[in-house]
Amino acid sequence: MNDAESHDRQDGRGPRCEHEDRLVGLLVDGDADGAAADSFMLLDHLAGCARCAGAVAAARRIDALVAETTVRPAPAAVEGWLAAAVREPVAPKSGVRAEPAHPIVEPVSGGAGRVIEFGAVLAAALCVAAVSVWLVLRAEDRARSRVPGPDARIASIGASPVPEPEPLRNRPAVAAVEGVADPSAAEVADPAEGGAVTARDLIVLSDLDPELLHRRLATRSASDRVAREQQVTAAALLEVARWPEADPFAAASTALLLAWRPPLVAALHGWRQDAAVAAYERAELSTRILWLGGEAGDRIAQWVDASARGDRALRTRLAQLLRGEPSRSEVAAAAWLGGAEFESALQHVAARNYGARWHAVVAATRRAADRGERGRMLLDLVLQAQGRDGSGDPARSEAALVQQVFAGLGGQVALELARMLPSLRRADERRVALRALGEFADPATSTVLSSVLLGPRVEEAELAAWALGRIAAGTDGLADLRPPRRRMDLWRAALVSRRDPLTRAWIDAMDLTGPERELLLAGDFTPTQCGVVARLLGGLDARR
């Protein structure tokens, strides 16, 4: 062994000992890449080589630090990601079960808007800290006249007993927010500990150490303890935001904080919506509102849109963001707003093939399904996503997409699509609309579907028959109509699909094999089955 190396520096920049790597591998990584005898020689070398000893110690320390600074997600987040992953429809696996196809080949997300959101978090933390300073100064003025109380303390922050606060002037009673008579009884349930945040907790917030508060807010720790403390802070900020003298600074902080922690805010019951909107209106936060990410950003965009007069600044800012690299929440907000913003969002997700954003747009559009024109928007989303799932089966892809986008909707969207259907010029638009109407199974669409069934295009007639077949028997009078001369077989197939009582006699009169009879009796056909059944029923009159 050559121990004559110069080991005068311990920071890794000096000459290295030739055995460093092997010793670190052996002692830190358990990598014995040589014979046992060689390992013993290395260990023997270590005893006399400060350089190697330093390298081993440093490697251990570095590993420990790296492990210590590794961030783990909260269990709830893990469950959310797992649920979202399997919610993504996939192509059938091993032929065992047919899953809807995935709409976008490359689900990629993570726009820079998220970064801005994070900036907003820091901004919120700074604002909160500053508000706290302001509160401390405010409290100091008042402390001179206070009489110390016996047990006043912040419930969970662990502060020492503080003076009993005097009622604050110039602020509405907490009861006004909570709708209860006694301000001290106003409380927010704490799901983590079963406790409550009371109005008293809010009032003594002024005794918080601003630096501590700042650090805690910046940490975004998911621990229950910290979450509870933040809950107190959020509640207090909501209160502060309502004081006239706090405007607009505290209001801005409040809105950002509210948006920052949706689960936290969710624990604040009825406070969140009116306070957030009020804060927005008072602080003119329209250009900041889009910093906010995820569900919160989307929700606040909804509130703003619903309450704040169709804000032009918001739309302008959104348009700017959509021209760049919008985040998922930004495209979702755009989808919620509709109009030109939706068009931009759609172009963005289509051009970039962003699966996650596509889902965000779909989700936001679905949530706003009662706002009108959503049927057209959802139709466009399906059309944009078609052919991108790599399944190689356009029909299955289309069916899966329609189910994914339209399932569970109905009502206004169904009527909108039904109204729109006759004027749709492209075949793929009409096909998707028919599939969607089939998903809705709304008797109110029966007339339009019947006209398509009798129309000139066979493929669309079959889809219309399928859609009619999904509507519950006896809800639309289809069975009472005089049998049409044109496409009578498809009309019958629709009724058989519904298992309308009228059809039992037809089935009994037919010369069917066992599986054919079983198929007809089961009903609830797919579009393909509907065509097959129609052909079977074609021989009905001849047999009779």
Partner: protein, 198 residues
């Protein structure tokens, strides 16, 4: 007599995982979730490291990786290879994401914030030295080439051996070894005297 509950042996655990994998391959979402759930924390840790501490970016990468894993579960041959397979997907997703963000320009340059590990920052008593060490470590890790950073993280945080690191990073065992050692060397250079135990 009270019946004895037989503890899971390695074999029975392996069989359980293989059975879960078979069910996941058949399209059973719950089996996929059960199989993958224990690994998600580690996936996030790696993604977070690759994202330079940017939590949102890491979340996106993990979400995308899980979607890809679910869609590609048929490509996983054995449950024993699950962990490195998932790491490989996260690495790809993270690098894709980074490339895309670079290509997209720096619309939000200057406003990204680094996630502060809860263990360090939520402790009010954390001193200046600890914070400085944390900051220097974050900086040193950030400056490492991506593959070195991943290799060191997988070794130090996840306890992977060189062979598994090689599998995750799609390189040889020897190359993985060199990545880990070189990463440590560079971090040590940057941390200097701050590395000494106090």
């Amino acid at each position: 007599m009270v019946p004895r509950v037989q503890a899971d042996t390695p074999d029975s655990e392996a069989e359980r995982l293989e059975a879960l994998l078979a069910r996941a391959r058949a399209g059973e979402a719950a089996a996929f979730q059960t199989l993958v759930r224990p690994q998600v924390g580690a996936l996030f840790g790696l993604a977070q490291r690759l994202a330079g501490g940017r939590r949102e970016q890491a979340e996106e990468a993990v979400q995308d990786a899980l979607v890809r894993a679910w869609r590609g579960i048929e490509g996983l041959e054995a449950a024993g290879a699950l962990r490195t397979w998932l790491f490989r997907i996260v690495v790809r997703c993270s690098l894709d994401e980074r490339r895309r963000r670079r290509a997209a320009g720096a619309r939000s340059a200057g406003v990204e914030a680094t996630e502060v590990p809860a263990g360090l920052a939520s402790d009010p008593s954390a001193g200046m030295e600890a914070r400085e060490l944390r900051d220097r470590l974050a900086e040193a890790m950030e400056r490492l080439p991506e593959r070195q950073r991943m290799a060191l993280h997988l070794r130090a945080s996840e306890g992977l051996g060189y062979e598994a690191i090689g599998a995750a990073l799609e390189c040889s065992t020897g190359a993985a070894r060199m990545l880990v050692l070189e990463a440590r060397r560079r971090v040590r250079e940057r941390l200097g005297s701050h590395l000494e135990e106090r």
